[in-house]
């Protein structure tokens, strides 16, 4: 059964290529079957492979062929299956299949139906390569592949130039991180002589001591890549704009899978990070600050998708926090539960947008509870899991992260307190969303109801969001991958506070947005309140800052350099050619006599030359 491993990425690849070469000539029904079915087949195969893996319990390594051979450097196209890979593959194919199924109805009326599924399948293929790769080079191939697919899908509705700009922004900003990551790979290869992950970890452990400069440098460079892909500070600005793509794309790429690739990368190279405590601390701090920044920003947005985008940034911040404090298992656990409930929230938001004539502003919605019951329950469950209300999946994973953060010596309680503040904000903004959209006065009537292909994935994701955290089931395969966390439990008071905080957040949201007993208008309308709101609304003015810091100086430089000498040379070649063309075209008079005369003179000249007269 384990031999079936290469089939898992192969199915989406075949489907994607088929959809591409038929350039939209295929009937929509067939496109839907091919697009969603291929990922479904992958999911089934993953299940079979996973069962076989759980039986044997041994990591499975499968070399397909040697990619290239340059001296001592010979990376293979090879897959490595262990618990971490299995968990990631299950999320990608499982949640991916549900989102594909949802898309078959969501995109029904789009003219580029087949192009959409070609990109989406290609994305699933690239993402699977990313998580299954046994060496960092193949991982990098998948890493860039998902970047390209993300670019294509963010700019899917390319007729609107704003979407194209958003796609370009996503591509360029992540490229900054990818460059850092490439440098990290170069450093690792020159120092350790291999990019195969397992031998590399062994070599690092034998060559380097804990706290050496080189592992810290390498890990910081890898962190740069992770920060770009996972939209963490300071490279997070692309994710809110990436919401320009179709909503299921946001669910799959910008919530459930691609943006968690950074988390996967750090978890995959955790043995390197264990050698570099300063890099670990950097990971934790980046995560914590990002999660607070994004949560406060989400509090004041009014585009339903932007709220969810900032929420995603914030939740990935939690995962980074977990990785930074060495709670590897908790980080991946949160990745899995987040994939469930955030995919659910995005799909539900997509359903709302779909049924309300593409309306994004939450203050124009309201009272949808009775009109879109399926969507309401999905959203409620998703928000509960996001806010980490007790017994939902998000509760277990977030609780695990916070408790393990508390355990860390010196900084632990501070990180814990910061995480709690983030949890409070999360609860407030997620229930603000629920109360504003689904309760209160009805302002818009939905013109259609979600069909079965939307309702089924929503219900399944509801179930996963609710029970996905019980028994910490997703963690079982991870036990063999990561070092075991200490079993020491903090006091009941600490645990009690972690449970109480989301409930307090829920209560605050209730009193402000539903019952109106807590009036914050005065606070918001005061001068400092306005300023803070504006500051938060702009996402801590990051876009403004980058515009001043990078974009404008770059454009200015380009403007100044318009007339530089390299261009002058090339432009003058063009000028000369144009002049020659104008001159020669005058000789083309169309007059027969003129042609005959010039031929005569030509012949006379040639004859004179031959006879030696001239």
């Amino acid at each position: 059964m384990l031999k079936l491993l290469p089939l898992i990425p192969l199915f989406p690849l075949i489907s994607s290529v088929l959809l591409m070469v038929t350039v939209g000539k295929m009937p929509k029904r067939l496109v839907a079957i091919l697009g969603a079915g291929s990922v479904g087949l992958s999911a089934v195969t993953t299940l079979l492979v996973g069962l076989a893996f759980m039986e044997s319990g041994q990591p499975h390594h499968q070399v397909l062929w040697t990619w290239m051979q340059v001296g001592a450097f010979s990376p293979d196209i090879a897959f490595y299956l262990d618990g971490l890979t299995l968990v990631m593959m299950s999320v990608i194919t499982g949640v991916g299949f549900l989102i594909h199924l949802f898309s078959t109805e969501f995109m029904e009326e789009d003219a580029s139906y087949s192009r959409y599924f070609a990109y989406l399948n290609m994305f699933v293929f690239a993402m699977l390569v990313l998580v299954m790769a046994d060496n960092l080079l193949l991982l990098y191939l998948g890493w860039e592949g998902v970047g390209v697919c993300s670019y294509l899908l963010v700019g899917f509705w390319y007729q609107n130039p704003d979407n194209g700009l958003a796609a370009r922004k996503a591509f360029v900003v992540t490229r900054v991180g990818d460059t850092a990551m490439a440098l990290g790979l170069f450093l690792l290869f020159t120092e350790l002589g291999t990019l195969d992950i397992q031998p590399m970890a062994a070599a690092a452990n034998s060559q380097w001591q804990v706290g050496d400069t080189l592992p810290v440098l390498a890990c910081l460079l890898l962190l740069g890549g992770a920060v770009g892909k996972s939209a963490q500070l300071p490279l997070h600005t692309w994710l809110p704009d990436a919401m320009a793509g179709p909503t299921p794309v946001s669910a799959l790429i910008h919530a459930a899978t691609m943006v968690t690739a950074g988390v996967y990368l750090i978890a995959r190279t955790h043995e390197l990070f264990l050698l570099a405590p300063p890099a670990m601390l950097a990971v934790a701090l980046v995560g914590l600050i990002t999660s607070l920044m994004a949560a406060s920003t989400a509090l004041v947005q009014h585009d339903i998708k932007r709220i969810l985008a900032y929420s995603t940034i914030s939740q990935i911040g939690y995962m980074f926090l977990a990785l930074g404090v060495g709670a590897w298992t908790a980080g991946i656990f949160h990745l899995v539960t987040h994939a469930f409930f955030k995919a659910l929230l995005f799909l539900a938001a997509g359903a709302v947008i779909h049924c309300l004539h593409h309306e994004h502003n939450i203050f124009k919605m309201g009272g949808l509870r009775t009109r879109l019951p399926v969507v309401f329950w999905s959203f409620l469950i998703g928000s509960a899991a996001l806010a980490a209300l007790p017994l939902t999946s998000g509760f277990f994973s977030k609780d695990m992260i916070l408790l393990q953060a508390y355990e860390l010596p010196t900084f632990g309680p501070w990180l814990w307190a910061g995480g709690l503040l983030g949890a409070l904000l999360t609860a407030i903004y997620s229930f603000r969303l629920v109360f504003v959209v689904f309760f209160g006065k009805t302002q818009m009537e939905p013109d259609k109801q979600p069909g079965s292909r939307m309702a089924v994935p929503l219900s399944l994701l509801c179930v996963l969001s609710l029970v996905g955290g019980f028994f910490a089931l997703p963690l079982v395969p991870l036990e063999s991958v990561f070092p075991v966390a200490s079993d020491h439990h903090p006091s009941h008071l600490i645990e009690g506070i972690s449970i109480a905080i989301p409930l307090i957040g829920l209560a605050i949201a209730y009193f402000i947005y539903l019952s109106g007993q807590l009036n914050i208008d005065g606070l918001v309308n005061s001068a400092p309140g306005q300023m803070l709101k504006k500051f938060w609304f702009s996402g801590w003015a990051m876009d403004w800052l980058y515009d001043r810091l990078w974009v404008r100086p770059y454009k200015g430089l380009a403007y100044i350099l318009r007339g530089e000498w390299v261009d002058v040379i090339y432009n003058s070649i063009v000028k000369v050619c144009q002049q020659l063309f104008v001159g020669l075209s005058h000789t083309q008079t169309g007059r027969l006599r003129w042609y005959a005369t010039s031929m005569v003179f030509g012949v006379i000249v040639v004859l004179a030359l031959l006879l030696g007269v001239i």
């Binding site: 005058h586 000789t587 083309q588 007059r591 027969l592 006599r593 005959a596």
Partner: protein, 104 residues
Amino acid sequence: MDGVSIPLDHVLLLASLLFICGLLGLMMRRNVIFILISLEVMLNASAVAFVAAGARWGQADGQVIFMLILAVAAAEVAVGLGLVIQIQRRFKSLDMDDADRLRG
């Protein structure tokens, strides 16, 4: 051969004069029919030169080439007159300077 034979130089001089007449006509006349006639004159000038050269060296080649030139001239006239008719129909004129639609 009996009698007085014309020296080759004279015949070549005549052929050159005829050829230059034809060439000047080709370059100067605007009427397409006169252009065709000029072409004929040029062809015949070269034919005269061939015949004279054949007679001078006592070989039949010159006359063979003369026959060939006759055939070429006939073919040229056939095609040329067809083109003349087309030009007349299209431009309502025989002035070749009117047919300059291929100018750059």
